[in-house]
Symmetry: C2
Subunit: 454 residues, 2 copies
Amino acid sequence: MTGDVVGLLREALADRVDIDPAHLDAMRADKSGHAAAGSPIALVHAASIDDVQTTMRIASATGTPVVVRGAGTGLAGGANAGAGEIVLSVRGMDRILEVRADDLLAVVEPGILNADLNRALAGHGLWWAPDPASREISTVGGNIATGAGGLLCAKYGVVRDPVLGVDLVLADGRLLHLGHRSVKGVTGLDLTSLVIGSEGTLGVVVGATLELRRLVPGQARTLTASFPDVRAAATAAAAVTASGVQPAIMELMDASCLRAVHRLLELPASDGTAAQLTIQTDGPAASAEAESIAATLTAAGGTVRLARDEAEAELLWRIRRSMHPAMETLGTTLIEDVSVPRSALPAMFDEIARIERAFDLVIPTVCHAGDGNLHPNFVFEGDEVPEVIWQAADELFRAALRLGGTLTGEHGVGVLKRRWLVDELGEDQWQLQRQIARVFDPQGILNPGKVFAP
Amino acid sequence: MTGDVVGLLREALADRVDIDPAHLDAMRADKSGHAAAGSPIALVHAASIDDVQTTMRIASATGTPVVVRGAGTGLAGGANAGAGEIVLSVRGMDRILEVRADDLLAVVEPGILNADLNRALAGHGLWWAPDPASREISTVGGNIATGAGGLLCAKYGVVRDPVLGVDLVLADGRLLHLGHRSVKGVTGLDLTSLVIGSEGTLGVVVGATLELRRLVPGQARTLTASFPDVRAAATAAAAVTASGVQPAIMELMDASCLRAVHRLLELPASDGTAAQLTIQTDGPAASAEAESIAATLTAAGGTVRLARDEAEAELLWRIRRSMHPAMETLGTTLIEDVSVPRSALPAMFDEIARIERAFDLVIPTVCHAGDGNLHPNFVFEGDEVPEVIWQAADELFRAALRLGGTLTGEHGVGVLKRRWLVDELGEDQWQLQRQIARVFDPQGILNPGKVFAP
């Protein structure tokens, strides 16, 4: 049967069907650290919508599961492919089909990297706001499939906001054009939004109409504030939000993050500092806002440093950007992604401290403090997440839900969080969501075992 | 059977079940001018989520159709109720349950009027951005059910953007909590967005968690520009968007609109002016932006007037706000709602002029020029839309679709546009949307005959 499927694919798609064992093996994992059992049967390098439709028709006719993949930078295992599955890569479909400065929109293929798109748009004085930390290596299609977030979300929104339309190939190979090109449009159900964050379970995103912004004028300002403990930093971040000044970015790193980064970058030890906020303001009022935020942070007990120039700002941001490389020096990392209302940040850090004590773990945590999205890092040895870490993660998820939060702010459910999905949605909503997915994909061949699998 | 249903409702809900014939008759129509055939069997004034669940359980058990209703201000017939139907009014559920300035969110019941909510929020220095022209008389639940727009959308977004979560009672009476309270959240499918704009076909919105903004600081500025023809005004509006300055509001009125309003307000005749833009800028840079826009409009051939103070600004806005009352002086009005990419505005006005000539009609048109949403008004005598007007509207819809636009920017499909729905969605997507609605409502008792009915 497997041989038949590969044969059908090769007959239709020739050398765009890749069965090199090393290539197939690489498809088992994304950046989550988790890998699927077994290797997929074929990797299709789609070059066109037609290729995607052909692949889906063959998959549908043969009942073969399909895992759609962009750059494979996901953090929840959502694009991991295993035994018996076809990997359908849209990474090669990376053209910008249209940029309209007058309508503030772009039409793109899904495989373009977020940063490549934004470099091209900058030439028109434009940008697409979603800025996941992975933007240099992640695709726009992947950003849409996961409903990605980023650092700028409190001020500039999440992926759901600036996507006007999506072209979607269904499991049976039919092509749908969802959404519209106009700013407003309420014709029928909003299937564009439904596809955003659906993690490859509803169809294959083969194109997107994106709403753009004009580049923000003026010089951004950067400041940091150090605090003697993480709760104080979280309280200060909440005070910034409550003050009414909207930073573009507000990041919080705790003591163990700072220690690891300072070691990696060979900076002086950060011993006196248990937590640090790094903040950027932008737009015409950037300087006034930075001063105002500095005053709020000082009043909240922080030691503030306002970067005098871009070089100094760059140095401060380098610390934040070195977070993931620094974690990798400690061991294998399970990066979690809970999100809570901003006022609950101090309480969520209390819960993390409690879980650290209860399980005798250190959980380095970085946090998009402007929007309440935390990334606690569970560090361990080897390839398999130890059971104690799953138990600690379970406590973490339940704490976030108790505080009015959510399991995942921006990474998605994938395989890593599927067993907690029902805890957040409730049994009725979980069943309803499964049934909706079945309308798009009656045979259940799109990304089986992800998101909804118990 | 009808008697049984009313009996069951009265047994469970006592005097919250209204069968006064005059009250029932009033439920046949919204503000679209269209009325359902026959009168509904009962009007339930729900006072609680429990009342809504009880009503839906009885409706489900007896297979009785239910039309959910807020303030009845819709413009597409979506909340019109006819023979054999229960009207489920949530207008009485109008409490603000929570306002959190620190988290920039509010939790409300669906029946609160948009303007009442915003008056209450203003005391906290906050607002909920959606501003349909009906905001003094329309409910937040209705705004969500229709995916309402408004005047501020190009700068501050549509209803889809600032709704974090929705509590939904399903056709069978079960209560689901969709969405989240955090800024970010991608757990499972985005059913909150799916419910927004679903026009009562998926469930009953019984609560909403809204994302708020801080009141915009500074004094807004208002200017108008007059043009010798409507195409010049549309071209000038597109030039403002293309210039990169973002007005808060940019409205266009054509010659026949202006004539009717000037007559109503007993202002001097506007004979020399074939079209007028009315524009508001806000925020710290309001004055600089108003000057910049004035220069763009002057260069585009406009005669610009910049209001010196609030009193003068109020006078200019009074002309725009008198649009609907002025139309009512001309006859019965069918208000259309096409939306196109902003660069297509001049071409869309050409199409309207062509349709006026082809059908020997005058079609007074007002337009949210900042976002490309046009409201052409078809004026006629009597209660029934004449066939010639449907033919002209058909031409209008097809022209908007050809220009990359949509049937409805903010009013919804309801009954008035259901026969064109498939033209925009295509047969495959239309069927898929119907099937999704059936997942929520297997018996098809929620707003039957609306949106998806052929």
